[in-house]
């Protein structure tokens, strides 16, 4: 294992002299009920080797049968990526030996993918659009999962022994391969992140995968190469591509961006030194922010592909494809634009919402009766903060969109103020019930009785004559201290705005 740190040059320096080209391969695990070629359940995190059968264990004599739902999901992904759908295609065997691959060949697709020649328009941070050309999307099966025990960093080298879990073997995968992405220049890492993010949203909207990068249900391999800049007036596309490296299993959006950024800097340093890039796989290390050398990978890798004779060709009828096309949801980018208009958010506000991954939640919260502004405030403010602190995803946070809509309604109706609403949220998260139940049980309710409020105001003014005089003299900011006293008098259950109004009316 390579432990030495590779030399890198500064990013701006690298970009000034080289043109980066990327190719992204994204594996998406489908959320079908059963595996690609057998009836075993697809469950994440089950006891090892409990969801296996003769087919996915590769026992002698076992034969595959294609999962129809997986084919339909593949077609839907292809359609959503603006691909052509093959009217006839086959599976192929990719032959190589590895202990976690039961048959020592992977049933995949080779030169006849189910979907090909598409594109995905990706929105960048500044609002501009980059078109990612899709070469193909094909179906294949996942391998088992190796666990290397002993040795360093879970790698096979130096391990004492290895364990294999075949629960994952045969889980349906869709591999989506881009064409070489050129012309992104210094924004290459950003384009990669934006693409993977857009792809994730798209696949999620299709409902065909959980697309959880942290669980490995979406994995990205990033190919990077550098070529010389064409120079003034030169045709950059006429410059031949450089040698690429493939950084494997980059499992977060941020890592995609960082890994590509790193590889660009590393490639530049290698090329500067006069050496050439070794075509190889690289491993990304989140902690060090660097990649290390994996195994050499040349174009001469010979997988001896041939059409899988145990399966008949897949030939989706044109009517079926059209039916699936009609079932496609609104594309995420288009939907975002529509929702932004409906909700009246500024571009900045909308970006916050997107970054927080809160679109669906806000949509549901609004559907449950909240105002768009209220829903946004909750999900991108208080809830995002708490989720972040606890390292949880927003949707896993334990509060429903109906709860948030109820809280928003109670604030709007003047029953709660913000601080009380947060206390009610505490109660909901503590399992004390729905918001109204929590508010009732905890006795949280703004004082609606103007008489009680006025009495408290009078009492505070009488007890703080010096402050009251300042307000009378025109220093309206001084009223804040009086409002605080009123809130205290009423144990926080006062409407601060109303209290301020009353104080100013009495003193000015």
């Amino acid at each position: 294992m390579t432990t030495t740190t590779d030399a890198v040059v500064g990013y701006d320096d690298a970009i000034a002299r080289f043109d980066p080209v990327m190719g992204l391969e994204v594996h998406v695990e489908l959320n079908t009920a059963t595996k690609m070629f057998c009836g075993c359940a697809t469950v994440f995190g089950a006891e090892p080797n409990t969801h296996v059968c003769p087919v996915c264990l590769g026992l002698p004599g076992a034969l595959p049968v294609v999962n129809r739902t997986a084919v339909e999901s593949a077609i839907r992904i292809g359609l959503a990526l603006n691909c052509s759908i093959a009217d006839w295609c086959r599976f192929a065997r990719k032959n190589y030996f590895y202990p976690d691959m039961p048959k020592n060949f992977q049933t995949s697709q080779y030169d006849e993918p189910i979907a090909f020649e598409g594109y995905l328009d990706v929105e960048l941070d500044d609002g501009s659009t980059y078109r990612v050309d899709i070469e193909r999307a094909h179906m294949e099966e996942d391998t088992g999962k190796s666990l290397h025990v002993g040795g360093a960093t879970g790698r096979i080298q130096g391990a004492e022994y290895s364990l294999v879990d075949f629960n994952r073997a045969g889980i349906p995968l869709i591999e989506i391969v881009t064409k070489p992405l050129t012309g992104a220049g210094e924004r290459a890492p950003e384009v990669a992140r934006a693409y993977v993010s857009a792809l994730r949203d798209l696949v999620k909207a299709l409902g065909v995968s959980d697309v959880r990068m942290e669980q490995g249900s979406m994995r990205c391999d990033a190919n990077v190469s550098l070529r010389a800049k064409a120079g003034d007036g030169g045709d950059q596309n006429a410059v031949p591509l450089g040698t690429r490296t493939e950084t494997k299993n980059v499992n977060s959006l941020r890592s995609v961006e960082r890994a590509i950024h790193y590889e660009i800097c590393r490639h530049a340093a290698v090329l500067d030194s006069g050496a050439s890039i070794l075509q190889e796989t690289r491993h990304w290390h989140e902690d060090t922010g660097a990649t290390t050398s994996g195994r050499p990978k040349s174009d001469a890798d010979d997988y001896r592909y041939f059409p899988e004779p145990d399966l008949v060709p897949v030939a989706p009828a044109a009517e079926l494809v059209e039916q699936l096309r009609e079932s496609l949801p609104e594309p995420p980018a288009k939907r975002r634009k529509r929702l932004q208009a409906d909700w009246g958010y500024s571009d900045l506000e909308m970006r916050d919402v997107i970054n927080a991954g809160a679109i669906d939640l806000i949509e549901q919260t609004v559907a449950n009766g909240a105002t768009a502004a209220g829903a946004r405030k909750w999900w991108t403010g208080e809830l995002a903060r708490r989720a972040n602190n606890e390292g949880k995803a927003l949707e896993d946070f334990g509060v429903t969109t109906a709860d948030i809509a109820a809280l928003d309604g109670m604030v709007r109706d003047g029953r709660l103020n913000d601080s009380m609403a947060r206390q009610v949220l505490d109660g909901v998260l503590a399992g004390e019930g729905r918001p109204t139940q929590v508010a009732d049980a905890r006795g949280l309710e703004l004082v609606q009785d103007d008489g009680a409020l006025e009495a408290a105001v009078d009492k505070v003014i009488a007890g703080n004559e010096a402050v009251a005089d300042k307000v009378r003299a025109g220093k309206l900011n001084a009223a804040g201290a009086l409002i605080g006293q009123v809130m205290k008098e009423l144990k926080g259950q006062a409407d601060a705005a109303k209290a301020r109004e009353m104080i100013l009316a009495k003193l000015t």
Partner: protein, 566 residues
């Protein structure tokens, strides 16, 4: 990569896919002496009005259970003249008496067979309506997985391997109430034409124990020929059912590709493999074909249509007005003279029976053998990759390495577990699929396959069935060709085209060669899914031949020495 045969394409709505709502299941389920010589009273029984034997009042008392046809045995069982336990015990006794010499079996499942037989008897006694062959015992080639019963495919690689599941055909045999006597010997992973490539030693031809019983399914054909089983299962990738049938004087059928499920058959070449019946008569084969045939949702290449009406066709046994095509390129020229003579006589006999004989030409057949020996090793090299010592089967540590890597264990185990012929074909196939060679070898071979299918299509425009000799020679001596792979491969020259085109083929015994007195075989070929034509014409010729020879050909076989101590 060129597109090859567009076989029945999978429509997304077709049943070739697995619906999520209906996921495929994860796992599947009186000692008698032997007398040689013809059995006069049953001569025409074997072939003729066999349906009468299902009527109890007409069935004679069976004194020699093992010599009965499966049809007669079924009749005797149905009429309760004998019990399934008696029928099974008789065959187990016969195995005990002769199999030390014949070596047809790798495993004999005495307890399992008797338990299954006893269950049939119980159900029959309870008045249940049972399938036709309930209680008729059977031998199964060791290539089909049998739950709880060792399955080796003739290889050291799988020595002692107990499958956790039944092949679909085995499930169907069990459902039909057929006691499984045991597993029969075969060339390792079905690669061979003699059983000499079995890791457990060769089987011997009951006609002459110094000769091969054919291969790869020599164990099944020898078991049937030696009266150790009335029926057996074989598999045929290039002739492994038909060539053994020819050299042992028995009947063997390779059904249409997809006609019988491959689920649970240790794969040799997926696009060529097909399981089928081995028997002593055409009707018996038809009865078994109906049991094992038909669609299987676990095999995507299985045909989703009812089994062709093979039993009805075997009973009809009529060739009047049938057009029989003589394939110019395989008409016996260059074959053993006695084989050629019997073939010519059989063709003449068909004419006498009212068939119209026409000559057809299949010019691409000469490329068949070459194409076959590229496609088969290519697919086999991939199919056999799973034997890596990681999950099951033989595991050998490499010599002199203290802490071997997984890769070193794989290599050492494959070296120790595979025989020479298997290694030869893995190397061939790996080479043929390699990038840079693919188009020249595998790609070209697939084109030949298309051409051969076209030849057949054209031939079947002119003829309803085609005929050829099954094998170029009668049974050769053990050891004669073992060091000459090419000579061994030539055994399959007449049988291979049917596998390449996916069409059905049958071999029936058509006499004894003058020069050595050993049986020769007649092959019939029919268009895909028209298996019934084989049975119709095969049964007709069988009846005529039995009349001409005065008895079934097999009755001419010399007696085997019987081991008395049981």
């Amino acid at each position: 990569m060129p597109r090859r045969l567009r076989r029945s394409a999978l429509q997304c709505r077709a049943s070739s896919t697995r619906s999520e709502n209906n996921p495929a299941e994860c796992s599947a389920r009186t000692s008698l002496s032997f007398f040689a010589g013809p059995r006069k009273e049953s001569t025409d029984k074997v072939l003729g009005d066999t349906e009468t034997s299902f009527e109890p009042q007409k069935v004679r008392i069976l004194t020699d259970i093992i010599r009965q046809s499966a049809a007669d045995l079924a009749g005797a069982l149905a009429s309760k003249q004998i019990s399934a336990v008696e029928a099974t015990q008789a065959h187990l006794d016969r195995i005990a008496a002769v199999d030390d010499d014949v070596h047809a079996f790798l495993q004999v499942d005495r307890d399992g067979a008797l338990a299954a037989a006893s269950e049939v008897d119980r159900r029959r006694a309870a008045g249940e309506s049972l399938p036709t062959l309930a209680g008729v015992p059977i031998a199964v080639k060791d290539i089909a997985t049998t739950r709880g019963l060792v399955t080796t495919a003739g290889s050291k690689m799988l020595e002692g391997w107990v499958p956790p599941y039944d092949a679909t055909i085995v499930t169907r045999l069990r459902e039909a109430g057929m006691p499984i006597l045991g597993k029969t010997n075969m060339d390792e992973f079905a690669m061979g034409s003699s059983t000499e490539h079995s890791a457990y030693g060769p089987s011997h031809n009951p006609w002459d124990l110094e000769r091969i019983p054919g291969g790869s399914g020599g164990g099944s054909s020898a078991a049937v020929a030696a009266f150790e089983a009335p029926l057996a299962i074989g598999t045929d990738t290039g002739g492994s059912i038909r060539q053994p049938a020819a050299v042992t004087g028995t009947v063997g059928i390779k059904p249409t590709y997809g006609g019988v499920s491959r689920y649970g058959l240790v794969a040799l070449a997926s696009s060529l493999d097909q399981a089928g019946p081995c028997s002593r008569s055409v009707l018996d084969a038809a009865l078994l074909h109906e049991v094992i045939g038909g669609h299987d949702p676990m095999d995507s290449t299985s045909i989703d249509a009812p089994v062709p009406p093979v039993v009805e066709a075997a009973r009809r046994a009529d060739v009047k007005g049938m057009r029989v095509g003589l394939v110019k390129e395989i008409s016996g020229e260059g074959f053993q003279p006695g084989v050629k003579a019997r073939f010519d006589e059989s063709v003449q006999l068909l004419t006498e029976l009212g068939a119209e004989v026409v000559e057809v030409s299949c010019p691409s057949f000469e490329k068949g053998l070459a194409a076959y020996y590229l496609i088969l090793p290519s697919e086999a090299s991939s199919n056999l990759a799973r034997f890596d010592a990681m999950r099951y089967g033989l595991r050998v540590g490499p010599k002199g390495i203290e802490r071997p890597s997984a890769e070193q264990v794989m290599a050492a185990s494959r070296d120790a577990g595979f025989g020479d012929e298997v290694k030869r074909r893995i190397i061939l196939g790996t080479y043929a699929l390699s990038s840079g060679y693919y188009d020249a070898y595998y790609g070209q071979a697939q084109k030949v396959r298309t051409l051969i299918a076209r030849d057949f299509n054209a031939a079947f425009e002119q003829a309803d069935v085609l005929v050829t000799p099954t094998a170029p020679t009668t049974a050769f001596k053990i050891g004669e060709k073992i060091d000459d792979p090419m000579a061994m491969y030539l055994n399959d020259v007449a049988t291979i085209p049917a596998n390449l085109a996916g069409i059905p083929g049958m071999s029936i015994p058509n006499g004894l060669a003058d020069e050595d007195g050993l049986p020769s075989g007649m092959q019939f070929l029919a268009p895909a899914t028209k298996d019934e034509r084989l049975y119709q014409v095969g049964a007709a010729l069988e009846a005529a031949l039995n009349e001409r020879w005065g008895a079934p050909i097999l009755s001419k076989a010399p007696a085997l020495a019987v081991k008395e101590s049981i």
